[in-house]
């Protein structure tokens, strides 16, 4: 981040020979991203106005019917639901991740790395497998409901699987680690003497937390929110394995278009619509971080 003094003034004009090397270092990464990210994005954008042949294969062309199909209220309805689920997921992830990251960063001592590893390692397992496991845990005769029933907290009609709770639980479980890591990084960097200073100035624990710790880790939280929100918006696995008919997310519809529907153009148009929504959200985030940086520079 911008802790070192900003390089302004005369330094800019005098380009060190080393610069060119750094430029070359960027070439492989740029090529990679261009080939596999930007080129495929361009393909998706072009296919959104494409057509399909009789075999269901996508063909390039210019046909606005897929774009027009987006006006079907079913899509905006499902998109709004996805937005709601993703925002809820973000909030829950933040509430879970903050105490975890705080405890590890400030009170973890020599177990810090081990604890972070304990959180990250389970995420090496494939996402689909973990979600499938969850659907077993949450099923009607699964361990969770059996335990709840035995202590009288659930009756035979209670269900978690195939409900909105199930889907959000799946999303939170799937992506919470993306919140913990940036928050941990922010808290780790936090100068503890700032907290001490707050306490010295007669701030209670709560006031110190609200006015010192929280603002200092705001950027970590913002990064975490973005990292959770983006994949949650595109997710279809959680809704497929843990949702019911009223929990379909936009990712499920997009997946349907590419597979069963054999309608890649409509799938591409939906993808572009989703990306547009996400882009608007991201612009807000970028403006915010730029403002933060400007403030930090004074």
């Amino acid at each position: 981040m911008t802790l070192s003094p900003p390089s302004r003034g005369p330094r800019r004009g005098r380009r060190a020979p080393a610069t060119r090397i750094w430029t070359w270092f960027m070439v492989p990464g740029t090529l990679w991203m261009t080939a596999f990210l930007i080129a495929s994005l361009v393909l998706v954008a072009v296919l959104a106005v494409g057509t399909t042949d009789s075999l269901g294969n996508p063909r390039f062309g210019f046909d606005l019917s897929s774009v027009r199909a987006l006006t079907d209220p079913a899509y905006s309805h499902v998109l709004l639901r996805s937005l709601g689920y993703s925002l809820l997921t973000c909030v829950i992830c933040l509430l879970i991740a903050y105490p975890v990251a705080y405890t590890i960063a400030l009170h973890g001592g020599r177990f810090k790395n081990a604890m972070i590893a304990a959180i990250v390692v389970p995420f090496f397992a494939n996402y689909l497998v973990r979600m499938y496991g969850w659907s077993v845990v949450l099923s009607d005769d699964g361990p969770l409901l059996r335990a709840l029933r035995s202590i009288g907290l659930a009756d035979s009609g209670t269900k978690v699987l195939n409900t909105g709770t199930g889907v959000v639980a799946g999303l939170v479980y799937g992506f919470v680690v993306f919140m913990i890591i940036p928050l941990y990084a922010a808290l780790e960097r936090l100068d503890v003497s700032l907290i001490e200073a707050g306490r010295d100035l007669y701030g209670g624990p709560l006031r110190t937390f609200l006015f010192v710790t929280l603002p200092a880790t705001r950027q970590g939280a913002a990064a975490g929110l973005v990292l959770v929100f983006l994949p949650a918006m595109g997710d279809f696995v959680s809704a497929q394995l843990m949702g019911g008919p009223d929990q379909i997310m936009i990712g499920n519809l997009i997946q349907d278009k590419f597979f069963q529907g054999q309608n890649w153009p409509l799938g591409s148009a939906l993808t572009m619509m989703l990306m547009l929504v996400l882009l608007i959200g991201m612009l807000g985030y970028l403006r915010r971080t730029r403002k933060d940086e400007a403030e930090a520079r004074g």
């Binding site: 070192s4 900003p6 390089s7 800019r12 380009r15 060190a16 610069t19 750094w22 430029t23 960027m26 070439v27 740029t30 090529l31 261009t34 080939a35 596999f36 930007i38 080129a39 361009v42 393909l43 296919l47 494409g50 057509t51 399909t52 042949d53 009789s54 075999l55 269901g56 294969n57 996508p58 063909r59 390039f60 019917s65 079907d72 079913a74 899509y75 309805h77 499902v78 077993v136 099923s139 009607d140 005769d141 699964g142 699987l161 195939n162 949702g243 019911g244 008919p245 379909i248 499920n252 519809l253 349907d256 278009k257 590419f258 597979f259 069963q260 529907g261 054999q262 309608n263 409509l266």
Partner: protein, 377 residues
């Protein structure tokens, strides 16, 4: 990034990016199915003799052939079976279209028709297959099926139908109709298959309409009727056998083969039921086919013939739970699915002809929109 070194200018990055973009776009345009595909030569479509011409590159659903059958084939002909699997017909065809070369693939009827029409399959000379009479001689339906006139490019592999699987121990007996899905006894614990054709087909049959209807008026009626089922549903899932086994479903739309497989898993089969509703049950089949660009079509022919040997048919039926239209295997299957006699696919079932058909682009789009409305509510 170190603040000591100013980042490369935007133009440098853009220039590098533009080069990458051009080369990537070039590669993707020339390689995949986005451009009109080249029609294969007549030479590539002509039948070949059944003889060893290399290892077998096999492409099918996972676990669809008894592993001991593969071993036997490898041993007898001194070749290797190189296996890969697909998880959807769409995925299979996408890989074929992308130019991947397989010796043998297993499309369902609807997809076989598309591949035949697209000139993607090599013709098969039945007289080269010593065991083919057990199929075409006895099961006349497959001698000239709608998806491949004269079975010129395909040999049928399995057949199955779609019905309702349910927990007899929890909700008792059903009435033998698709209307049972609306029954209050299972309310909130009913699943439909996560499959456009199956769900729209069920809705159409239950209203007495054509199983593959794409008529806008029909589709509106189907959508409206399924909207009344929606509040009773727990979800759309094709994992019907696990849903019944673990009690998440009391009733579910289900494929006969999955129900037969469930019999293997169940401790007490009498707690389950499977019915083929009287309004009509969608029927489907898949088949052996040799893509035009197969490197070893001769070995593929030998493999088909080997799979049709009575002892191998028996092994496979017992392994996967799907019946095969091979004369002599009917009793084996009947015995396997004794608790669910309606799993059996009879000649009459086939002649009722409730296969899902390919539609024109406009028809497919209409069905797709209807499915979105059924699913998204």
């Amino acid at each position: 990034m170190s603040p000591e070194v100013p980042p490369p200018s935007r133009r440098t990055v853009l220039r590098a990016g533009a080069c990458g973009l051009l080369s990537a776009a070039g590669a993707s345009l020339s390689g995949c199915g986005f451009m009109p595909a080249k029609k294969p030569d007549e030479r590539d479509l002509a039948p070949v003799r059944a003889r060893v011409d290399g290892d077998l590159v096999y492409f099918n659903w996972a676990d669809f052939v008894d592993p001991s059958v593969f071993k036997g084939f490898e041993k007898e002909y001194g070749v290797k079976v190189i296996q890969s699997n697909f998880d959807s017909m769409e995925g299979m065809v996408a890989k074929l279209n992308a130019g991947n070369r397989y010796d043998i693939v297993f499309p369902t009827a609807k997809w076989a028709q598309r591949l035949v029409r697209g000139g993607r399959l090599r013709r098969i000379d039945h007289s080269e297959l010593a065991n083919s009479h057990a199929v075409f001689g006895k099961h006349s339906y497959f001698a000239d099926p709608w998806y491949d006139p004269g079975s010129a490019h395909t040999v049928p592999f399995t057949a199955y139908k779609t019905g309702i699987g349910w927990r007899r121990d929890r909700i008792g007996d059903l009435t033998g109709s698709w209307k049972d899905l609306w029954s209050d006894r299972a309310r909130g614990k009913v699943f439909l298959l996560d499959d456009r054709d199956e769900v729209l087909g069920m809705g159409a049959l239950h209203l007495g309409l054509d199983v593959s209807t794409a008529d806008p008026g029909d589709l509106d009626r189907v959508t409206a009727s399924l909207a009344t089922l929606r509040p009773r549903l727990r979800g759309f899932s094709s994992d019907s056998y696990n849903n019944l086994l673990n009690g998440n479903a009391l009733m579910t739309q289900a494929w006969s083969g999955d129900m037969a497989a469930m019999l293997n898993q169940a401790k007490d089969p009498s707690v389950f039921g499977f019915q083929a509703p009287k309004e009509g049950t969608p029927i489907n089949s898949d088949c052996y086919a040799i893509p035009y660009n197969a490197r070893h079509p001769g070995t593929a022919m030998l493999f088909i013939d080997y799979m049709l040997r009575p002892e191998n048919v028996k092994k496979n039926i017992e392994y996967i739970g799907y019946p095969m239209p091979v004369s002599g295997s009917e009793e084996i299957y009947r015995a396997l699915v004794k608790p669910f006699p309606e799993c059996v696919v009879t000649e009459d079932d086939l002649k009722a002809d409730l296969f899902f058909r390919n539609g024109s682009r406009a028809q497919e789009d209409a069905r797709d929109t209807a499915w979105t409305h059924v699913k998204a509510g």
